[in-house]
Symmetry: C2
Subunit: 202 residues, 2 copies
């Protein structure tokens, strides 16, 4: 798949092609939200999008291929990081943002489905990892500024602090099933801050 010259949609990306892509990605999102990856196939996505089934198979080929394209789309709408001037409030803002995303009625199930898709397909996994690398790098400066202020030890791995903050939320969301609420988000932020100040990530 994806010939060296001319994957469908690359040579005439405008007009109808763009409309079809938009309709298919939206339909795929809808399907993932209310059935999860397990219950989705390209034929159904084509029906939902009111698009020829052949088109979906030709352009995306497989469900993971489609999910990878969705991720590329989502990667572009990355929210800017907080700039509150203090580490704790910056981290609290990030924790709140992640909480809001995972608890959202559409975004939550969508992320769950995408992460699950990445579990059985290398292409999707690569796209997912790129997505989070970008997000982590977007927020890392919060920690570096704290280092510059002297609030956190020199040499602290900023990305690692961001991961430490994100992890408890995703753990509950994907693994343990424990509830996700504002208290959990706050504790995640405070814990990451405490560990960073203690020099755990230096």
């Amino acid at each position: 798949m994806n010939q060296v010259t001319g994957a469908p949609g690359t040579s005439r990306p405008g007009g109808r092609t763009a409309r079809v892509r938009e309709a298919v990605l939206r339909a795929a999102g809808d399907a993932l939200v209310d059935k999860g990856i397990g219950g989705v196939d390209l034929a159904e996505v084509a029906r939902r999008a009111e698009v020829g089934k052949t088109t979906v198979y030709r352009r995306w080929g497989t469900v993971p291929g489609l999910v990878a394209d969705m991720l590329a789309e989502m990667a572009e709408s990355s929210l800017p990081r907080a700039r509150t001037g203090a580490l704790d409030t910056d981290l609290a803002a990030l924790a709140g943002l992640i909480l809001k995303t995972l608890a959202d009625a559409r975004q939550g199930p969508l992320f769950r489905a995408i992460i699950a898709a990445a579990a059985s397909d290398a292409q999707t996994a690569a796209a997912l990892h790129r997505f989070y690398r970008v997000r982590i790098e977007e927020w890392a400066p919060c920690v570096n500024e704290a280092v510059a202020r002297g609030d956190v030890p020199e040499g602290t791995d900023a990305a690692e602090v961001v991961r430490a903050l994100s992890a408890p939320l995703y753990y509950r969301f994907l693994v343990s099933g424990d509830p996700l609420d504002a208290g959990v988000a706050e504790r995640a932020a405070v814990a990451a801050s405490a560990a960073a100040r203690a020099g755990v990530y230096a």
Copy 2:
């Protein structure tokens, strides 16, 4: 599914029935390890297990149903917690155990597939959450003993400390794709300990 009276395998659980169950669960594990949930169906499991396809459909019905049964099986082989006499070494032992499991050539992909299955099926999700609730409760006493020793503030939520320790490993494993190594496990343990001592989970 699972009628009030007489799900298959409940009334005559011995002999052939037990052999079939063992063969099917092993085959299902093999299939999940090398294809992930996305690529597994009951017909293939039946072929791998050298068992009648009808049997697999009748007893388990769906892939998530089969996965839920695997989890019930796995829940019984829960390793006992460490008792080193100090919080940091106990937590380090747990982090090492999780790392070993996730990094294992068979267990790792298996857990990945099971967690992914839970993402699109409520029954599997419930089984997964039970599995981790038991594991967390098994290790929580490490923290309670530390509280009793006076190493950690009174009122600390032991389960929350265990989750905080586990989370960074699972986050890398499932979400960010960053490498999993002994250093990460150690940092996870130290960070959880530092946050607990700082009273974040009290």
